[in-house]
Amino acid sequence: MLPELKEKEARERIAKKIAADLEDGALVNLGIGIPQLIPNFMPEGVNIYLQTENGTIFAGPAVDPNDLRVIDAGGAPISVLPGGAFVSSDVSFGILRGGHIDVTVLGALQVDAEGCLANWTIPNVRTPGMGGAMDIVAGAKKVYIATRHFEKNGGSKLLEKCTLPLTGCGVVDVIVTEYCLIRNINGKMVLEEIVDGVDLLELQSKTEMQMEISPNLKIMKC
């Protein structure tokens, strides 16, 4: 049996792993949910710079929780760090779509073997809308997916082919779940790291997405 984790533990592990994988100095856009935990787990000496799609360049922690004049895309108060700036949405999406962002980290409903992502609607159930995600995956230099490995009902969120309407296709570079790290290498999904104590064969059998196993498969530190 795969080791079971509490929701909080699983989410923090994913965030921590991605934090450890990011380049120092990267300009990063974070989606709602697990990605928002990443700043808490940045390793000592590694700095990332946050852009918010609603127009903050170099977002930082809130100063006054009542002040909504500077917020993130989710509506939470934030601040702009020294050296930052505010831009209008046309410029913000020029930045996102134009390849000026190094990394984006997004959540997923489904992600598949072709690097396609679905995260904006479950038809007839819930349609939050795509917001900025479609533009972001079309333009960011590197797209990380931060997601639980399985649905609540046990089904795999890592599929051979997404069944939900897509956000983008061929766009995913790295997938991090509570069990493993998968990298898109020349269009192939390669399992590069696995958590200590997770049985490789069991994980493979329960993951619908066909993964290649890296010849240098490593233990995922977390």
Binding site: D67, L68, A138
Partner: protein
């Protein structure tokens, strides 16, 4: 003799009508240099059934709350809205915020928006077919509005290619790369929100309240800006102006709405 007088009379009447036509065209052409300061009710009063209205804002920020409140109280139905999102109306924020007030009040017949994840009522009305909602990727939405304001006919974007969004949209392949052809968006009226205006309508914004506002200011026949403060001409450096006053028809001072106060 009477005939001649009649003809002259007729001529004069025709001339008068003609002058009125010229005048009304001219009125539409030139925006006043000093912008009238109007009440939220006067601003809302320009919206009739079937009017297409752009509303600035992104989540809580940069929303013309005071004009939206007046539009809510006015009760006009069948408004066609273009905005980033459907604002808040959900278990965590049960009292509808901003445009959500108009949606919950069933004043909105159609919307072009990008996100409604924080508005449970809008999602339910959408799934029941009670409201016509066109979802656009956010970068596509702002670019469509910019295109409408800048006199362009459309643009090609990689956003949404090879997804369900692509269906029913024209695609163009150039040098082996596929793009979606997107069309301009304009509105009859834009209600935007800014931080400060000078008397000539030049606008500056604060923080993330900028968002769609400067772009919407370019893409509607009538543009009314709700602002925190109006300062004398000269107080805003011409190098710092974000929205030039030539786009603005009138100004409204923000009122006491709790969200207006926090933004």
């Amino acid at each position: 003799m009477t005939d001649t007088l009649d003809i002259i009379q007729g001529c004069l009447e025709t001339l008068s009508i003609f002058k009125q036509i010229i005048r009304s065209v001219a009125d539409k052409m030139t925006k006043p240099f000093i912008k009238p300061i109007i009440t939220p009710e006067e601003a809302a009063g320009k919206v009739k059934e079937g009017t297409t209205v752009m509303l600035g804002g992104f989540n809580y920020g940069g929303v013309p709350y005071t004009i939206i409140d007046a539009l809510h109280d006015q009760g006009t139905k069948n408004i066609r809205v273009i905005s980033v999102d459907a604002s808040h109306c959900n278990p965590k924020v049960p009292e509808p915020v901003g445009v959500a007030r108009l949606i919950v009040n069933k004043q909105v017949s159609s919307m072009v928006i990008s996100h409604m994840g924080l508005n449970a009522v809008a999602q339910e009305m959408f799934s029941k077919g009670e409201i016509d909602i066109e979802l656009n990727p956010m970068g596509t939405l702002v670019e469509r509005i910019r295109t409408g304001g800048a006199g362009l006919g459309g643009f090609l974007t990689p956003t949404g290619v090879n997804t369900a969004y692509e269906k029913n949209r024209q695609t163009i392949e150039i040098d082996g790369k596929k793009f979606i052809l997107e069309r301009p968006l304009r509105a009859d009226i834009a209600f935007i929100r800014a931080y400060k205006a000078d008397e000539a309508g030049n606008l500056i914004y604060y923080g993330t309240g900028r968002n769609f506002n400067p772009i919407m200011a370019t893409a509607a026949d009538i543009v009314i800006a709700e602002v925190d403060e109006i300062v004398p001409i000269g107080e805003i450096d011409p190098n710092n102006v974000v929205t030039p006053g030539i786009f603005i028809d009138a100004l409204v001072i923000k009122g006491g709405n709790a969200y207006a106060a926090r933004t």
